[in-house]
């Protein structure tokens, strides 16, 4: 049975698109047929992070309007043959979306894929509402900072009141990813701990992704960090993808790495 998962955050710049790309690949690595859909109409980014920028010919709006078939618009990932990508339109804006067209598109995607991952636009405007409208579940991405948490809290409130599942009287499954946590800052009391965030948002923790400088370079290269075996963030995304696929994996909280003499000296002079 197919599952539609919206990746949301409320606030922009928290790593939502990066998370979508990595989880899409992570799910595909578990031998599941997965499609990631860029719902950020007019501000397409997911294609670049997946390294598929130069293969975009048709987009989801053209599919919804009958100008292209779904097969024509879907792009198969080079990194994993189980992953497909449906791009957003870069030349149109969010006003082109309508509920009926989205519902039809998602029904088609449900027939082909076990996991349909929707990358929501930032904010809580119409584009966001359309992304969550027909989702079975939502992954909420937060950074450990108060503004991100408040915006996510707001987005969860809207999810609980405006998604079709909520309107039908069912609860939308909600899972939290805490992204870019820095264990050293947490230890110094300069950053919120995972427990504090969970207490405020009151939803299930799906995983914690540590701050990792390699993520930016990976995104720039179109090679999601999950492909890097040595990266801590990549390992975290792998564990999260397994959990989404129903595999029991314990949540690992990033720990402070013990520094050697050179590291300590660098810390003093940095």
């Amino acid at each position: 049975m197919s599952k539609v998962i919206a990746v949301i955050s409320g606030k922009g710049g928290v790593g939502k698109t990066t998370t979508t790309a990595n989880l899409g690949l992570g799910i595909a690595m578990q031998m599941k047929q997965c499609v990631v859909v860029d719902f950020d109409i007019g501000q397409r980014n997911l294609d670049m992070i997946l390294g598929l920028e130069n293969r975009v010919v048709y987009d989801m709006v053209q599919v919804m309007d009958g100008e292209a078939t779904l097969e024509q618009a879907l792009i198969r990932s080079k990194a994993n043959r189980n992953l497909y990508f449906l791009p957003a339109s870069q030349t149109k804006d969010k006003s082109v979306l309508d509920s009926e067209k989205i519902s039809n598109l998602l029904q088609e995607l449900r027939k082909k894929f076990e996991y349909v991952i929707l990358d929501a636009p930032a904010g809580i405007e119409s584009g966001f509402e359309h992304t969550i409208e027909f989702a079975d579940a939502a992954i909420i991405v937060v950074n450990p900072e108060v503004s991100s948490i408040r915006d996510s809290d707001r987005a969860i409130g809207i999810l609980d009141s405006k998604s079709q599942k909520a309107k039908d009287g069912h609860e939308v499954e909600k899972m939290l990813i805490i992204n870019r946590i820095d264990p050293e800052m947490v230890e110094r009391g300069e950053m919120l701990e995972a427990d504090d965030i969970l207490e405020i948002l009151g939803i299930e923790l799906l995983g914690v992704v540590p701050e990792d400088r390699g993520v930016i370079d990976a995104s720039n290269q179109g090679q999601p960090i999950i492909l890097n075996e040595k990266s801590d963030a990549g390992k975290a995304y792998k564990r999260i993808a397994k959990r989404i696929c129903g595999i029991k994996v314990a949540v690992e909280h990033p720990k402070v790495r013990k520094k050697g003499l050179v590291g300590k000296l660098k810390g003093i002079f940095s």
């Binding site: 108060v146 948490i149 408040r150 809290d153 707001r154 409130g157 009141s161 405006k162 405020i200 009151g202």
Partner: protein
């Protein structure tokens, strides 16, 4: 001759300039809409027209036989703090959580106690013409505005406005607590459970349990 006696709630406010006055009334409308406004200061067509549009009842520069209680505490609330965001969705009333109370006890104008049994998330807004009991968290960006008292037993990081007898609340680090239009400084809410109420002319903050009334 038939006579009737009524009690009227009066909200006294001064006009410094029409714009800030209108901003203030907008921000506090829920709390003062059922009051008689006693306005002090220079009359202005803009303000009169605004009050008429809003359907607010008022007297201007009239000496009313008011007790001194509360007059000094009624101060302007920063509109930035109190401004209502109409785009926010209202929290749907929870029929199962509203218990019927004895309205006679609260007076004819107040509605029965409303119980909010789940966490209020950012953007959710409970407006009630009576007392409110919140048993869970009130997150940053959420708000309760009540004409009656408010009892908040969970962690409060959002905003609470009450024009009732009291506010009973846990310690607050963030969020704005307004009692009869007066902002209560969060530093004063130091007890495990605080009660904010009038003692004579002054608003006081005390521990709810007399054994804990000594400050830590």
């Amino acid at each position: 001759m038939k006579c009737r006696q009524y009690n009227v709630k009066v909200f006294e406010v001064g006009v410094e300039d029409p714009e800030s006055f209108i901003e203030f009334i907008e921000a506090n409308y829920i709390l003062i809409r059922n009051h008689l406004l006693s306005i002090k200061g220079e009359k202005s067509e803009k303000v009169i027209s605004y009050l008429e549009d809003k359907g607010l009842r008022y007297v201007w520069n009239m000496e009313l036989p008011l007790p001194k209680r509360g007059v000094e505490e009624l101060c302007l609330v920063s509109p930035g703090v109190e401004a209502r965001d109409e785009s926010r969705e209202r929290m749907e009333p929870e029929p199962e959580s509203v218990e019927e109370g004895d309205e006679e006890e609260y007076g004819e104008s107040l509605e029965a106690l409303k119980i909010v049994g789940r966490a209020l998330r950012s953007g959710q807004y409970v407006e009630h013409n009576g007392d409110v009991l919140s048993t869970d968290r009130i997150n940053s960006g959420a708000k309760i505005a009540a004409l009656g008292s408010v009892v908040a037993l969970g962690k409060v990081e959002g905003d609470i406005s009450s024009a009732g007898e009291c506010i009973i609340i846990t310690p607050v680090k963030r969020g704005n607590i307004l009692f009869h239009g007066t902002k209560i400084e969060n530093e004063k809410l130091i007890y495990p459970l605080n009660i904010i109420r009038y003692r004579g002319d002054k608003i006081t903050v005390e521990a709810i349990d007399t054994k804990q009334s000594k400050r830590k």
